[in-house]
C-alpha cells in the first residue's frame, strides 16, 4: 500500500514483516528512528515472536546477533558511522562464521572531526569485512532491499548490510509502497540455518584454524561472495515477479545506451544526478548514469559491460581512501583495466555537504572542458581559499591549533546551518 512516511519508519515496517526473531541494537544517529520503531513493534507484539535486546554497545549488538544467528534465529541490527567501526571486529567474525545477519547501515561520516551527517565513509571502511553491501537509492528501494537481503543472506549463509543514506533517506518523508505481510511471507521462507547450536546435535562453531586450512576457509568466503553475484540478480528478478516493481540487482544504467559520459554513483545522490542528466540530454549532451546497487561483492563484469563503450566515466563517491584516492573509482578502474574510458574520481557530499544540481553541472562542464585531471582525486565544492589559509597558518605558526576549529572559526558558520 502506498503511504507517505519517513524512510526509517518504512524500513522498520519492512524489517518487521521479515519476522526477525532477535533484534539487538544500540542507538546512534541517524539510525535511531528505525530501531525505536522496531522496539515499539516488538513491545506491541506486532513482531512476534521476537526478542529486542537493548545492548550496551554496537560491539555487543553485533555479538548478540552472532549468538542469536548461530542459535538459529533470524537476527537483525542497525547502526551507522562510529557504531559500525565499534562493531568492526564482530563484523568480520559474523562473515567469517557465515552467519546470515542483516543490518541496516544509515550511512554517516566517520570522525574526527565528529560529524553526524551523511557520507559513505562508514560502509566503505568495512567494504572488505566479508559482508554483502547493497545501496538503496530511495526509501522504496531501502524497503525492498531489506526484504531481499534476508533471503539473500539466508540462501548463501552470509551477512548482508543494507546501506541507506543517513538523514537524506532515513529522515525523509516520501511515498513508499509497503508490501503486505502475505507478499513478504511468500517471498521470504522461514530461516533454515546451515549450522546451528543445538543440544540434539552438538556442534563446535568457531574453532581455531591454522595455516593448514585458513586459506581454504577464506577461499570459500570469497567463493560465496562471488555466488552472490548470481544470486542477487535472481532474487531481484523474483522480487519483481512477486511485488511488481524493480528493485535491487547489481547495477542499473540510466540513459547510458549511447552515452559518451557515464556518471557512476551509489545511493540517494543518483536521483539528483539523473535530474542533471535529463537537463544535459535536453541540450544534446550524450550523458548517462550507472547506479552501483551492490558494492560488495564487486560486480566487475557488469560494471565493465555498462561502462566500456563510454569515452569517460565520472565516479562520484561520498568517501575516499585518505592518501590514496577514490575507492569506488579504484574498483571502477579495475573493472575497466585495459579498456578505453578515462576515469575521473570525484569525492563529494562529505559529512553531509549537499551535492547540488548546480555543482554537478559545473563539475561536468569542467570535465568536458578538460579542466579536471583524470585518475586523480578531485574534491567537489572544495573551499580552496579556506584550505590554503589553514595550510598557511600551519606553515607559519609553531602551535597553530587544531584544523577543525581553525576552519570553523574561519568560515564562521555553525554546524546546524543549512549550508
Amino acid at each position: 500500500m502506498l503511504e507517505q512516511l519517513e524512510g526509517s519508519q518504512a524500513v522498520a515496517r519492512a524489517v518487521g514483516m521479515c519476522r526477525p526473531e532477535v533484534i539487538a541494537a544500540y542507538p546512534i544517529s541517524p539510525q535511531t528512528h528505525i530501531v525505536e520503531a522496531l522496539s515499539d513493534m516488538v513491545r506491541t507484539s506486532d513482531i512476534d515472536p521476537c526478542e529486542y535486546m537493548m545492548v550496551e554497545s554496537e560491539f555487543a549488538a553485533m555479538s548478540a546477533c552472532i549468538g542469536a544467528s548461530a542459535a538459529g534465529a533470524r537476527a537483525y541490527t542497525a547502526t551507522a558511522s562510529q557504531g559500525l567501526l565499534f562493531m568492526a571486529e564482530a563484523l568480520y567474525n559474523a562473515s567469517g562464521l557465515g552467519l546470515p545477519i542483516v543490518m541496516t547501515l544509515a550511512n554517516r561520516a566517520i570522525g574526527a572531526p565528529i560529524n553526524i551527517w551523511n557520507d559513505h565513509s562508514d560502509s566503505m571502511s568495512q567494504r572488505d569485512s566479508g559482508w554483502i553491501q547493497l545501496f538503496a537509492e530511495t526509501n522504496q528501494e531501502a524497503v525492498d532491499l531489506h526484504i531481499q537481503a534476508f533471503r539473500l543472506a539466508e540462501e548463501l549463509s552470509l551477512p548482508v548490510m543494507v546501506c541507506m543514506d543517513g538523514f537524506i533517506l532515513t529522515h525523509a518523508f516520501e511515498q513508499v509502497d509497503l508490501p503486505s505481510q502475505d507478499q513478504v511471507d511468500d517471498f521470504l521462507p522461514s530461516f533454515k540455518p546451515r549450522q546451528m547450536l543445538d543440544p540434539a546435535e552438538p556442534m563446535t562453531i568457531g574453532a581455531m584454524v591454522g595455516p593448514e586450512a585458513f586459506t581454504e576457509v577464506k577461499y570459500l568466503m570469497h567463493a560465496k561472495q562471488l555466488q552472490a553475484l548470481d544470486a542477487i540478480p535472481e532474487i531481484a528478478a523474483d522480487f519483481t515477479e512477486g511485488f511488481g516493481r524493480e528493485s535491487g540487482g547489481l547495477v542499473r544504467s540510466y540513459r547510458a545506451d549511447d552515452a559518451e559520459t557515464i556518471v557512476v554513483a551509489l545511493g540517494s545522490v543518483l536521483g539528483t544526478i539523473e535530474d542533471v542528466i535529463d537537463e544535459l540530454r535536453e541540450q544534446g549532451v550524450k550523458i548517462g548514469a550507472l547506479a552501483i546497487k551492490c558494492f560488495r561483492p564487486w560486480p566487475i563484469d557488469e560494471v565493465r559491460e555498462a561502462l566500456v563503450d563510454a569515452d569517460r566515466v565520472i565516479v562520484i563517491e561520498k568517501a575516499f581512501a585518505v592518501g590514496a584516492g577514490g575507492i569506488v573509482g579504484q574498483n571502477v578502474r579495475l573493472a575497466l583495466s585495459g579498456c578505453e574510458p578515462t576515469v575521473f574520481d570525484i569525492v563529494a557530499g562529505l559529512g553531509g555537504r549537499p551535492i547540488t544540481r548546480k555543482s554537478l553541472r559545473s563539475l561536468f562542464d569542467e570535465v568536458f572542458e578538460g579542466n579536471i585531471e583524470p585518475n586523480r582525486l578531485h574534491f567537489l565544492d572544495l573551499k580552496k581559499d579556506v584550505v590554503e589559509r589553514e595550510i598557511g597558518r600551519t606553515e607559519n605558526g609553531r602551535n597553530p591549533g587544531p584544523h577543525a576549529e581553525n576552519i570553523l572559526r574561519d568560515i564562521g558558520t555553525v554546524a546546524s546551518d543549512s549550508h
Binding site: P49, V55, S63, G67, A70, A73, I205, G206
Partner: protein
Amino acid sequence: MAEQQIKGYQTGTFVVGNRLLDPEQRSTQARTERSNTLTSGHRACQGCGEALGARYTLDAAMRATDGKLVAANATGCLEVFSTPYPESSWQLPWIHSLFGNAPAVAAGVAAALKAKGREDVRVVGQAGDGGTVDIGFACLSGMFERNDDVLFVCYDNEGYMNTGVQRSGATPPAARTANTKPVGPEPGNVFGQGKNVPLIALAHEIPYVATATVAEPRDLEEKVERAMELRGARYIHVFVPCPLGWGSASEDTIRLARLVKETGIFPVFEAEKGEVTSVSKIRRHVPVTEYLKLQRRFAHLFKPELNTGVIERLQAGADRNIERFDLLADDEGAEFPGEATDQAGPPESEPGRPVEPDADSDVSSLLRETHGKPR
C-alpha cells in the same frame, strides 16, 4: 557427533569426590554418567586449572540441565587448547566468536532460544579473566544489567596466559608477568585498586553470584547446580591456577587453589540478588607466604632478600578480605590442625598435618567421611 564416553578410570576410586562414597553421594565428576563435556585429547598444559574448572563447571551444568546446554566461549587458552581444527574437545554445542564478546554472544543465544520457545535449553558463557574483567567487561556488565538468562563463568588464572603471560586486570599486585617483570624500583605488578568482578557482579544485584576454586569441586558443582536452578544473569568466578604462567609445579595446582582460599586472598562466597548468602570459612588460616612461595611469579619477594614491605601489603589485603567476608571459623582462634592442601595428595614440600576439618561444614563432614583420618 560421536560422543566420547568417559572411561572407567575417570570415575574410579581416586577421582575427586568419589572415594568410598555411595554412588548417589558422589560428585558429578565421579559419576559414571557424567557428560565429559570437555573430553580428553585437548592440548592444555599439565596441571591446567582452567581445564579442570571448565570440566567441573560444564559437567555439573550439563547434569543440571539434562544435557540441554549451549556454551559461548571467549578467545583464550580454553578456546585454543580445546579446538585445534579440525578437532574439538567439546561435547556440547559450543561457539567461539571473539575475545571480548562472549557475554553478548551468550545473551544472543539466550534471546534466540527464548524467541524460539526453547527455554529448556540453557546457556553458559565462559572466558578467562582477560575476557571477563578486561576486554569483555562492558559486555558482561550489559548482560548483567539486562538480566539475560545466562550463566557466565570466569576461569580466573590472573593473567593473559594465552598470549604469553601478560598482566591483566586480575593479576595480583607484585606478581611477575611478561610485562610486569621484577625489575625497576617496584618489581612485578603494581599495587592498583584491584578489580573485584564478583563484587561488581554483586553490585548489579543479579540473581546469583559465586566464587569457587578448583580445589573444591564439590562446592563448585553445588554452585553451578544452584545457578542453573535460577533464571536471569548469573556469575561464577572460578579460581584456576596456571602452572605455566605462575611458575608453579603442575602437581601444585590444587594445593594453590586451596591455599588461595585458606590465606584469605581469594574469598569463596555466594550471593543472591546482591546479598551474600554464605561464605566458605577458612579451615586452617595460613599466612600469604605459604601461597606465594610456591610460585615463581612471586620469587622476587623472597630472593635475593625477603621483601617484607610488599609481603605485608599482600597480607594486609588478605586480612581485609577475612574481615570483610568474615572468613574465619568461630573456633579458628584455637589451634586448628587442618591440612589445607591434601586433596591432591600429600604435599612433598611440607610435612603432613593431621586432618581435623571444621565440624560445621558440609564439605568438611564429607571430607571427614571420605578422607578418614590423617595419613
